[in-house]
């Protein structure tokens, strides 16, 4: 009982344990913030990746999958499947109305079923959604009429434009980063360039070379599309290189349309090859992805066997969206684990800090230890004072660290902006700190004591030095936001707290605080009581 009493009293009446708690707290907060940001980043990447893929992806290499509509019709009979859609994927050059040609990834989709699987319509940019309440002052959509935006949304959903004369033209929906008409600003939203915006401009032309499956020299195929809308899935990598076009047009571009077999003289044999798609995307009905994958895999193999389609096991794949995106997700996951491992070294810092501080405390409390031994305290009893002390410091430090970590993660956007572009008020606050430093320095000079002078000099350096640096940066426009939404994957730094990491880090901090306390505790237990009683 005395061990706990003394542990708490040492905590309450001394400054140095508070330093230990603060140090442990900072260590915990560091890990929590770094891993939470990495986890949040991974989560954003996953969500963005999943948004345009669904739960399960079926692929079959260059030749694609025959008669996907037939398979999908049968697959949807299964209650576990909510939706499925065929996708034709290819690469093409795009000629923009402003005479720029660049490469893009083309996805030919059936807009309706594609939306059912992926929520594609939610990613459309030019919509009247929210009537502009979520838009920034600079957002160009504020200047467009709701009617116009509604029309653009309808065209985007249909991937088609109906001209006034009733002609229906195939539409194209571009990633928001493709056109030069949108410039990403510091807030992560987009400003129009020269009041120019994509959907109402001239047609764009996609040119591609169909994949060669017949050992012939393929001819390039060019198709003009009406730009009907733009999309933003939140992942800039996709937003800057992908376009969506109608499935039929993509099939024309890739020779995946219905085809008749011909003999050596070019005459039809009567055999018809069904249209194909590069992949089939499937959304489950709430089941785990792996389970949906198994259902789709079994269903496809049965269907293909029945329909007489040969599956090449070397290239046929049924993958969950996570497996499909593994090449992209895995490095991010690995980076997170690397960060977790590297920053977990702060546990050793915790242990080292506690050890150093406890070493000092044991030395300071040697006489008390002698008194307790004289009163009959056992060696384990003496050790327990310091072990429990370590536990208390670890727990309080861990709680402080988790709270601090949560506060930082929760406000990371504000902190990011404040660090990148500090408010002018910071200059005045730091100036005030400098003035306090001057006062302390002067009072120390007057009294002859050195400590106030040293403290004053430090405050002067920090206050005036940092204040002047911030003023200079602001005056010369040198501010730079660390997580710059104009160039980063996502508009905002991730602010999701990783509670699992917080919990494990907190436990680790307690354990390593105890580890740090054990050696000084053992040393305390071994103190010779006679020597201890002579200790001053």
């Amino acid at each position: 009982m005395y061990a706990l009493l003394l542990a708490f009293r040492y905590l309450r009446t001394r400054m140095i344990p508070l330093v230990a708690i603060g140090a442990v707290g900072l260590c915990v907060a560091l890990v929590v913030v770094v891993v939470s940001v990495m986890s949040g980043f991974l989560y954003q990447v996953e969500q963005a990746g999943k948004t345009l893929i669904g739960d399960v992806v079926v692929t079959n290499g260059l030749r694609g999958l025959p008669d996907p509509e037939g398979f999908i019709a049968e697959l949807k009979q299964n209650e576990a499947i909510a939706a499925a859609t065929p996708v034709v994927e290819t690469f093409a050059t795009i000629r923009m109305p402003y005479d720029e040609v660049r490469g893009v990834q083309v996805w030919g989709v059936d807009p309706k079923s594609f939306d059912e699987v992926t929520g594609f319509a939610q990613t459309l940019h030019w919509t009247p959604e929210g009537s502009g309440t979520d838009w920034s002052e600079a957002d160009f959509r504020r200047d467009l009429s709701p009617e116009l935006l509604m029309g653009l949304e309808e065209e985007g959903r249909a991937l088609a434009r109906t001209e006034p004369d009733g002609t229906v033209r195939p539409g194209i929906c571009l990633g928001l980063e493709i056109s030069i008409g949108n410039k990403r600003n510091d807030e992560g939203t987009y400003d129009p360039v020269n009041r120019w915006f994509m959907p109402v401009q001239e047609p764009v032309v996609l040119t591609t070379i169909p994949p060669d499956t017949l050992n012939t020299t393929p001819e390039p195929v060019s198709i003009a599309f009406a730009p009907v809308n733009e999309f933003s899935c939140g992942l800039i990598l996709i937003d800057k290189e992908r376009v969506f076009v109608p499935l039929a047009e993509a099939r024309r571009m890739t020779n995946m349309t219905v085809a008749e077999e011909v003999d050596e003289e070019g005459l039809p044999t009567g055999k018809v090859f069904p249209a194909r798609s590069s992949k089939i995307l499937v959304r489950g009905n709430g089941l785990p992805e792996a389970q949906v994958r198994e259902i789709v895999d079994v269903a496809y193999r049965e269907w293909a066997e029945r329909e007489g389609h040969v599956i090449n096991p070397m290239i046929f794949r049924v993958q969950t969206w996570r497996e499909n995106q593994a090449s992209f997700l895995q490095p991010v996951e690995n980076e997170r684990e690397l960060m977790r491992t590297l920053f977990s070294l702060v546990y050793l810092v915790c242990a080292g800090l506690v050890l150093a501080i406890f070493h000092a405390i044991v030395t300071e409390k040697t006489r008390d230890i002698g008194v307790l031994r004289a009163l009959g305290a056992t060696r384990p009893g003496i050790a327990m004072i310091f072990v429990q002390y370590g536990v208390v410091i670890g727990i309080l430090g861990a709680i402080l660290g988790v709270l601090l970590g949560w506060a930082v993660v929760h406000n990371i956007s504000l902190i990011n902006q404040a660090i990148g572009d500090p408010p002018m008020a910071a200059v005045f606050v730091l100036g005030a700190v400098g003035v306090v430093g001057l006062w302390r320095f002067a009072s120390g000079f007057h009294s002859g004591f050195l400590a106030p002078r040293v403290l004053g000099a430090g405050l002067i350096l920090v206050g005036f030095g940092l204040g002047a640096a911030i003023w200079y940066i602001k005056a010369n426009g040198l501010s730079r936001v660390i997580w710059d939404p104009a160039v980063y994957y996502f508009a905002e730094p991730p602010n999701r707290m990783d509670w699992w990491t917080a919990l494990t880090t907190a436990i680790g901090a307690v354990v390593f605080s105890v580890v740090g306390a054990v050696f000084p505790a053992a040393r305390a237990a071994d103190v010779d009581p006679v020597e201890a009683l002579r200790h001053d």
């Binding site: 009982m1 005395y2 706990l4 009493l5 307790l372 009163l375 009959g376 009683l533």
Partner: protein, 244 residues
């Protein structure tokens, strides 16, 4: 000499030291501090060990209180040899049979007066046992502090007390477990004469009620208050005298 105490019984030996030797090593030099000390403490006796600085009297006290162990010789407490006791038994011996009073009080600055006294009871009990006897220990501590004129000082920290008050707290701590023997090492050494006399009066009162005491001092006037005085020179007892 003080009045004979109520329970004086010369035939009962509480503590007996026989042939105690203790040598300390200071670098390469061996310094013999005790060189064959024989001593007996009777039930209810106030024994003073008189000697100059370096004579070995404090070392003798540490041996009797089991804070240190002799190189040779042995100490017997009520028929039990400390040498034969297990570690746990020796810790219980220090907690229950012995009460220490130090020259420098050795109170814990983080604890208040009452806690400084009760800590001696806490040390002897595990947390579960302590819960059941806490009130009893508290009452005992309060009673002692009241008796020593510190009833209004329970919540005060040692830093808020005078030297005499601190020593009285230290005495209450030594007595709270009802020890067989109090071992007092120059208990008035840091006090002025008047305060020192007050402290001795308190101890004398406890002795009158039956407490056995071994007090180390270099002051013959203090020794004069004891039942018996032994004089130590260079680690040996050179003279056994009843106090006059």
């Amino acid at each position: 000499m003080t009045e004979p105490n109520m329970n004086a019984n010369a035939s009962t030996t509480v503590l007996q030291a026989t042939g105690l030797h203790r040598t300390y090593r200071m670098g390469r030099v061996e310094v013999p501090v005790l060189r064959g000390v024989d001593l007996q403490v009777q039930e209810g006796e106030w024994l003073c060990v008189l000697g100059s600085s370096g004579s070995g009297k404090s070392t003798l006290l540490h041996q009797l209180g089991d804070l240190d162990r002799p190189d040779r010789g042995h100490i017997v407490w009520r028929g039990q040899s400390l040498t034969d006791m297990r570690r746990r038994e020796r810790e219980t011996y220090r907690n229950r049979a012995i009460g220490f009073v130090f020259q420098s009080y050795h109170l814990m600055p983080e604890l208040n007066v009452l806690e400084n006294v009760m800590v001696a009871s806490m040390v002897g009990h595990d947390p579960f046992a302590w819960r059941s006897m806490r009130d009893e220990a508290s009452a005992r501590a309060e009673e002692l502090l009241d008796a020593f004129g510190l009833g209004h000082r329970f919540e005060h920290r040692p830093a808020e007390l005078s030297g005499g008050e601190r020593q009285r707290v230290a005495m209450a701590r030594a007595l709270v477990n009802g020890p067989d023997v109090v071992l007092a090492d120059e208990p008035t050494g840091n006090l002025d004469t008047k305060t020192g006399d007050d402290i001795l009066d308190v101890l004398a009162e406890r002795h009158r009620l039956g407490l056995s005491m071994v007090m180390v001092t270099h002051d013959p006037t203090i020794a004069a208050r004891a039942d018996r005085v032994v004089k130590m020179v260079d680690g040996v007892v050179v003279e056994h005298n009843a106090s006059t």
